[in-house]
């Protein structure tokens, strides 16, 4: 039974980067028709550089001891991308009566699950009729 035999210290480097692209357009091809389209895509990464945390003095006097941190820097990697798509169509039967279709698609990809895989796709669609007065 022993105790503490000193410490090991190393400088860790953590880097993260994110890029987002967005685009959208609204068109009115006719007085009775509106179309809207929005797209957004984001990719983000984050992670540690490889580190050693060497304990050379201790290992020299305790040959069977192994300090292997060669993979530890990968344990908390972040690598996600997300796609958002929105489509809206609106058709006016008269100036006061219309029909609207709205659709949204979101795809979230967790490419390096940390605690658990949070990937998922969700789709929403509404169809509605409206009356203004």
């Amino acid at each position: 039974m022993g105790g503490q035999d000193g410490y090991s210290r190393d400088l860790l480097a953590y880097n993260e980067e994110a890029n987002s692209l967005l685009a959208g357009i609204k068109i009115r091809p006719a007085k009775t028709f509106d179309i809207g389209l929005d797209v957004a895509y984001t990719a983000a990464e984050g992670g540690l550089d490889q580190f050693d945390l060497p304990a050379d003095d201790y290992v020299a006097t305790h040959p069977p001891t192994v300090f292997d941190f060669s993979q530890s820097h990968t344990f908390s990697d972040i690598d996600v991308d997300r796609l958002n798509l929105d489509v809206m169509l609106k058709y006016k039967f008269t100036a006061d009566l219309w029909l609207r279709l709205w659709y949204r698609f979101v795809d979230y990809k967790d490419n390096e699950p940390y605690l658990w895989d949070t990937s998922g796709q969700v789709q929403w669609a509404t169809l509605s009729a409206g009356w203004s007065f």
């Binding site: 039974m1 090991s8 860790l12 357009i25 945390l53 609207r100 795809d107 658990w116 998922g120 796709q121």
Partner: protein, 576 residues
Amino acid sequence: MKAPTHLVLAALLAAFPFAVAADDGDDSTALEGSIEIGGLITEVDDLPDKAAEFSTVEDGPVGKVKLSTFQDWGALDFKFKYMATDENEGHLNFDVKRMVRSHTTYIKFPHRLGHDPMTNLESTSTNGKVVQHTDFSPSQDYVMEYALFEDRTELQFPGFRPLTLAIEFREQQRKGHTQAFTTSHCDTCHVKSQAHARNQSTTDGTLEASVAWKSGLIRARVTDRQLREDNPDVTVTFDNNLHPELQTPVFDNRMQFDDDVGPVPADRKPEIDKSTTRLDFRWASKNGLAITANGVWATTENRGTGYEADYSGYVVTAAKRFGNDLRLRWRGKVYETENDDVYIEPIQRTTPAGPHAGLTYYDVYGLTFDQWRTSALDREGLESKLDASYRLGRKGGTLRGSWDYDVVDRETYEVLPGEKETTTNVLGLSYRVRPAKGLRFDAEYKVGDVKNAFTLIDGACSTLVSEQYPNPWNPETPQYYDFHDARIAETTASASSWNRATIALGWSFAGATLTGRYVWWDGDNTDGDLTDWSKERQTATVTLWSPGGANWDWYLGWAYQDMSLDAPACIPVFDG
């Protein structure tokens, strides 16, 4: 569902103007609006926790109602959008002859928290030490429904227009389940998880009175807040404390709980009462000098323990224009926070078996760890922000210099050995110009210097080198406090010096508008022992928008950010 009830009450209040109009014989009845009704279908593949973190995934009817009217008696504006039982929002604004003015908003949406399966907590060693987990609610979805209702209604009387009375009501509800974690540690590191049913409400009621005159205003307001939890805690039974190899209860005097005490409360959420009083004063002179002042006094009480936290703060601002080109502004603030001291008295358990049988930790080592804890937030603060801007002619742009000075004087907590006071100076210089029609350029540079930036003294790097001992009960075997006492490194995530540069551009051309912004920040801290922290961050955004034509418009955008963080890690090297 309290909040929708409040919205209905507000809607009934809104009907009051129609009654007034009828009583007055007003023949204005024009009411504009729209009604939209339909249905929502959703489809989920894998987990919705991130893809629909703040959105409903329910199927069902949807609807939207808008109503507005402007009449001699006043105005009404109402909108409510229903997407699902867990996602809807609306507002109601009305005024009656400028005597009664009311603004009400309501929003509700889900927040998906995710269910941690704890599968990363699985490891074993060759001598019986185990990290394990148990999920008592494996199929529970952890979602909190968030709802916020806010109303402000002002009354102003025809006979005395300078006086305005206001009543505010705000209620925030968080309802659902959160994942409660508890840890047993001795025989194994055993993390247990269970669903904690939550129904939390934070209710604010405010009374306000203000008197305004041509050049100024005095206002007083009193707010009472109540935070309540229907289920403040869950219960947990901790594991039997056993030596990992011997499987005997020889370490009980080092632990706070054991299975022999049965279920005990855990994951406790405090209930809080808070009262706040605020006074405001504004005054503007004819020669361009404007002054404001306010004072805030607040007391927050934890209903479970009775501990209180007091805050008092005072702000003064002054602004003056000299001629057409030079303007000076200053904002000063002093504040104080005081918290009750807390007495910590760890449980003294006896060990049933082994060399320490029948003895408490105090009996063996002469230490109880009973202590008074003072709050690190007990402090007095001073903030000063001074800036001067000068216009360089009609087309030469505007030059602005700023100096921010900030002092935090802590009552007891040290942030570097012997140092309780942090002083921050930030100098800034910016330039804004419109060199040509449709073109705008902004640039700013700031330098920050922090004396005694926050660090955790001796937060890491235990340098203890101990001897070899036959067993943990040997009187000379180092204890946990020995490892802690031997730590030498100050840890931090706060910069002691930093630089920040910002460049922004706006350009309108050929019917389109291009905007861009770039921000660079770089800071570090090497002030403490073995402290070696640095961070660099860049963000950039570019957007291009065009109205296109009469029947179309479009936009493109790009956002970028990167961050580099360097910080030391320090691990103790153990044998045994």
